[in-house]
């Protein structure tokens, strides 16, 4: 399997959502391909950054505004 096909699987691979066969193919390819290793590293960093975005606080008046609309 070439780089382009492997790269299509990397997102699912990092989420452990590839099949056993796909996982073997990806891991075998990664052993010898620096480009795909780099891409996997970048995907991991993107996911890490997204995961660290703060959970925001809803404005305090939200329930009051909802209640007013429901009344």
């Amino acid at each position: 399997m070439g780089c382009s096909q492997v790269q299509l699987l990397l997102s699912a691979y990092r989420d452990k959502m590839t099949s056993r066969e796909e996982t073997q193919v990806v891991e075998s390819h990664l052993e010898s391909c620096v480009d795909c290793q780099d891409m996997l590293s970048q995907l991991n960093q993107i996911c890490l950054v997204l995961r660290t975005l703060d959970n925001l606080k809803a404005p305090r008046c939200l329930w009051q505004d909802i209640k007013r609309r429901l009344d």
Binding site: S11, Q42, N55, L56
Partner: protein, 192 residues
Amino acid sequence: MDEDIELVRQALQGVEEGFERLVAKYQDRVYTLCYRYSGNEEDAYDLAQEAFIKAYRSLGTFKGSSRFGTWLYRVTTNVCLDEMRRRKRQIQTQSLDQPVAGIHSDMKPIVFDNGISIDELYEQKEQAEYIQFLLNQLKPEHRMVLLLKDIMEFSYDEIAQMLDVSSGTIKSRLSRARELLRRKLLDREHFP
């Protein structure tokens, strides 16, 4: 009995406190999802309100086959996607080739492996807003799947249920969304 189901039951019987407690429990996560999707506080507030109102009016359709939270986030994602499509508002039209306006204008881009780590950059307060700016460049369906997986941390199956598509569709859509975000970062950074 599951606390949420009991609160839903109370709300359906007209006990206001039941729904108020559900709002209190989920409002921050719902608001965060709406903010990350819309990219601004005003729209996020309107969308969160709309999501809870739609949820309240649809409570009778909640059968308890999934967790209440999953059901509520499904309502919220639908409100976001429907509302923003309806408005046909271009939330963020600025090209990534142009300097970012306002507080973003002198912000350093994320750099992967050429000397500055994301951790270091992320220490800058503005970094979250820069990521938000990049998210805003994506198509709604790509932005939403990134939010649900990488920010809200739902599983593929949960996201598939929320968006009413197959898990395979989520897999390919998420792959595409991450790749688009990666390319935007690479373009911006002149990555070697």
